[in-house]
């Protein structure tokens, strides 16, 4: 793939005339995002607003939106970073499509999803109803699915998309479950109301854990982190957006939104702390050893959101505010890093650190801007990163020594991997010579770097935003005071320690790389990704096996109905009292004539079941029918007896007529049955018969003492001007049944005609040649092909 890109790039640079045309969709998305940013900014400065509209009152869900601090923060990120990314993407996508020889119309598979992504993020940021949150939460996942799978002709992209979909959406169901649990207990889906009502306890803990699972999967935290590095198959703008302001941020956004609830459970907080710290460690160590640019950044993201999760795991105003601050700074820096990585790959056709190097000389602007972004992650002074780490350290300090050490180690790790990344890329010997870069691919990086610098000098606006957002997460006012202090206060000492440690890590290359590789290998062997793959593949294998077994052994579908039915009947029989529930019933008068007829029926039935000759089957069937007709006559049911005789005669005639003309009438010797099969059918038949016996005898033994409705019918028959009650019932009382019954008969005739004569109820007049193929309707094309009607060869 890398080679193909190289070729395409060189072609493009040789022939600059083939420069792609303006991407209208992309630029309009960019403009819309920018406009959205302005609107959000104005909205925030005006102090926000809330909207609450009925949505589905029956389900108890409302369209609750609040444009509070948290919403403002994430909405500004989604639109602001969105505008930058979209602008970058407008150029990048054209190049990407041209490189891969894909039509420009493919843009329609990209920009709508990007735009929807931004909208969903803003929606998620402002939603305060848990179901509404779930809706937007999944919407972002759906968008990311299509964007990650944008290069759908590549198998890796398809796999990555499916993984991302499964790993983020399935846990999202847990969010729904948690929401339902909370609403079942406290009667509302609204987060603010829940914050008022929810009390610490098992329900809150369980619901909190469920929500946390969804959020952590989305934020790519260990052990559900593996989808994110894979998702690097997406085009660069998607990755940049995904990592900085959209998909991954959605997870911590939800954490921030429901944090007052989570804070009511120690268990949940501990889980957050543990998962956050583990993610920092795992992501950081793995980022140290990665070779592919985007992979380094992906693991970096896992690690960085680990910081935020850890902060949410600590309780306190400082932690909540720091988390919000951290998200902003990280979004700016990470977005810049991704865009720069995309620019590098576009320019060189290379995506591996080992093949790159010394780019600083050729691409100084890019190197500088990327350097600022890397410094921001490394928390160097004069960048926003310094303050975010200062706040992080400050929050950790309040939690005790363990977290202080952990925080320092985490910062050192970050310093090391991002330092390695930048140095490998821009310093050292030149790896691949870059082609000239479009300015549109560089300017966004510079822009973001400038933002990071501005925050580093003037933190006040972002501080204000973070305080507002933190106030929502903490459910109380939050005050942050990031500033430079030239003294040896604890946070400064921690920062210095982190830089020193990080510098050491940068220096000891051998040990560092070995450790990272060892963890990567261990992860591949035992890690969650492997478990995921194994379970999916195992599932497919099992699915195939069970299906195979089903088609081979159970497709004789009728057995599969009879046996469970018999089992259910047996269960019913066993689970109800049977004492005196069954009666033999009295025998009187004509019954002595009925009994032999019933016996005859039984014999004929057995004959019908045993014989293989078609003719004898028909004869046995009619014997059954006539014997039963006689029974009906003796049971004082002359109408039924008459019709039964007529129907039986007719059926016998029809059977004979049809069988006589059935092709292949030679009764075939059934091939030797498999062992065990010989007895299977009779046993199943016996089970079915016994089940029927239990059920039928069961209810025949329970005649109701109260008069049946037929007493009324007998009484009313004269009023209906009739004497034969049965006929009156058929034609009058239950005439609707009769109408239905004859309709069935008519449909049957039509059906027979459909099957045997293409729906023609009667043959065309024999004298008219060609009459048969005449009436094919007005459009000859709609006629069924004659060939398909003859037996297929």
């Amino acid at each position: 793939m890398a080679d193909a890109t190289t070729d395409a790039t060189t072609d493009a640079s040789v022939a600059p005339t083939s420069r792609p045309r303006l991407d209208v969709q992309g630029w309009s998305c960019c403009a819309a995002a920018a406009a959205g940013f302005v609107v959000c900014l104005v909205g925030w400065l005006r102090g926000g607003a809330t909207v609450s509209l009925p949505w589905a009152p029956t389900l108890g869900v409302r369209l609750d939106f609040a444009f509070d601090g948290l919403a403002a923060l994430y909405a500004l990120l989604a639109t602001g970073v969105g505008a930058v990314v979209f602008g970058y993407g407008a150029r990048y996508l054209s190049q990407h499509l041209a490189d891969h020889g894909r039509p420009r119309s493919e843009r329609w598979r990209f920009w709508p999803w990007m735009a929807l992504f931004a909208v969903a993020m803003v929606g998620l940021a402002t939603a305060t109803d848990l179901v509404l949150i779930f809706v937007f939460f999944d919407l972002t996942a759906v968008c990311s699915y299509f964007l990650i799978g944008f290069d759908r002709e590549r198998r890796e992209a398809r796999t990555a998309a499916l993984t991302a979909l499964l790993v983020t959406i399935v846990p999202a169901v847990a969010l729904l479950a948690g929401a339902v649990l909370l609403s079942a207990t406290y009667g509302t889906f609204s987060v603010p109301e829940l914050v008022e009502r929810a009390e610490p306890g098992t329900t809150t803990t369980v619901a909190g854990l469920l929500i946390v699972v969804a959020a952590l999967a989305k934020s790519a935290q260990v052990p559900l982190h593996f989808w994110l590095p894979r998702a690097m198959e997406a085009p660069t703008p998607v990755s940049a957006y995904l990592h900085s302001a959209a998909m991954v941020a959605a997870g911590v956004l939800v954490l921030g939104r429901v944090h007052p609830l989570l804070a009511r459970s120690e268990v949940v907080l501990t889980v957050l702390l543990v998962v956050g710290l583990t993610s920092i460690a795992v992501g950081g160590v793995l980022a140290l050893g990665r070779d592919e640019l985007k992979q380094v950044l992906a693991y970096s993201t896992i690690s960085q959101y680990g910081y935020v999760v850890t902060l949410y795991g600590m309780v306190g105003a400082a932690a909540s505010g720091a988390a919000a601050f951290y998200v902003v700074v990280h979004a700016v820096a990470k977005c810049a890093l991704f865009l720069s990585a995309g620019a590098v790959t576009t320019a060189t056709g290379e995506d591996r650190l080992s093949h790159l190097g010394g780019l600083g000389r050729r691409l100084p602007v890019l190197a500088g801007a990327t350097g600022v972004a890397a410094a921001t992650l490394a928390a160097l002074p004069l960048t926003g990163g310094f303050f975010s780490d200062e706040l992080f350290f400050g929050a950790a300090k309040e939690q005790g020594p363990v977290l202080v050490v952990a925080a320092v180690l985490a910062a050192a790790l970050t310093f090391a991997y991002i330092g390695r990344y930048w140095m490998r890329l821009f310093l050292g010997p030149t790896g691949t010579t870059p082609a000239p870069l479009s300015r549109v691919l560089v300017v966004p990086v510079v822009l973001l770097a400038l933002v990071a610098l501005v925050v580093g000098v003037l933190p006040a606006p972002i501080t204000q935003l973070a305080e507002d957002a933190g106030a929502v997460s903490h459910a109380a006012p939050v005050a942050l005071s990031p500033a430079y202090h030239l003294d040896l206060r604890a946070t400064n000492v921690m920062a210095l320690a982190a830089w020193t440690l990080g510098g050491l890590l940068l220096a000891v290359t051998g040990l560092r790389d070995r450790a990272s590789r060892a963890l990567a290998v261990a992860g591949d062997r035992l890690g969650p990704r492997r478990a995921y793959t194994a379970s999916v593949l195992g599932l497919r294998r099992w699915s195939g096996r069970v299906h195979d077994w089903e088609t081979r052994d159970l497709r004789s579908s009728i057995a599969a109905v009879l046996v469970p039915a018999g089992a259910l009947a047996a269960a019913a029989f066993a689970s109800t009292p049977i004492a005196q529930a069954y009666s033999v019933g009295p025998i009187s008068g004509t019954d002595w004539l009925v009994l032999p007829l019933l016996a005859l029926t039984g014999v004929a039935t057995v004959v019908a079941a045993r014989t293989r000759e078609r003719l004898s089957i028909v004869l046995a069937l009619s014997a059954v029918g006539f014997a039963l007709a006689a029974v009906y006559a003796l049971q004082a049911a002359p109408d039924v007896a008459l019709v039964a005789v007529l129907v039986e005669t007719m059926l016998t005639l029809v059977f004979l007529a049809a069988l006589a003309r059935l092709p292949g009438t030679e009764p075939r010797r059934e091939s030797a049955p498999r062992a065990g099969r010989r007895w299977r059918d009779p046993v199943i038949g016996a089970i079915a018969g016994l089940g029927a016996f239990a059920v039928i005898w069961g209810y025949l033994s329970e005649p109701r003492e109260a008069p049946s409705v037929s007493a009324d019918q007998i009484r009313l028959t004269p009023a209906a001007h009739g004497k034969d009650v049965v006929t009156v019932i058929v034609a009058d009382f239950r005439g609707l049944d009769t109408l239905g019954e004859i309709t069935v008969l008519l449909i049957a005739a039509v059906g027979v005609a459909t099957l045997l004569r293409r729906g023609r109820l009667w043959l065309p007049r024999p004298g008219r040649p060609g009459a048969r193929r005449s009436s094919c309707g007005w459009s000859p094309g709609s006629c069924w092909d004659r060939a398909s009607w003859s037996p297929s060869p």
Partner: protein, 128 residues
């Protein structure tokens, strides 16, 4: 009497079920026919009162329960319709497939042997 009716119905149902399991489509049709007889004899058996045929009720005296008889009439007719249809269907199938053995009916589009392992390998692409 109750027991006798139930027993005959059970025999009809059991034999019908047995026939439904057979490979020959003709016997499958016969099985449905027997099971429909089972249903009708059960309906008649579920009469609540015994007496003379329910004609001219003003004459007095106990009458047999007319309602199940009406139901049985309807069920008989429906049974006849479905049987005729099933017969035609079987006829059509026999013509199209050239066999009256159920197990020999194969979809034209389904390979006779399913190889889940092979399929698994080919499909592994999207998951690994």
């Amino acid at each position: 009497m109750t027991l006798a009716i139930a027993a005959v119905a059970a025999v009809l149902f059991g034999a019908g079920s047995y026939l439904l399991l057979q490979r020959s489509l003709i016997r499958v049709v016969a099985g449905i026919a027997l099971i429909s007889q089972c249903a009708i004899v059960t309906i008649i058996g579920s009469s609540l009162s015994e007496g003379r045929a329910a004609i001219d009720p003003e004459q007095g005296g106990p009458l047999s329960d007319p309602l199940p008889q009406a139901l049985a009439l309807t069920a008989l007719v429906i049974g006849m319709g479905t049987l005729a249809l099933l017969l035609a269907l079987v006829h059509r199938v026999v013509v199209a497939h050239g066999t009256a053995e159920r197990d020999e009916l194969r979809d034209v589009d389904r390979p006779a042997v399913v190889d889940p392992e092979g399929a698994g390998r080919r499909e592994g692409d999207e998951t690994e």
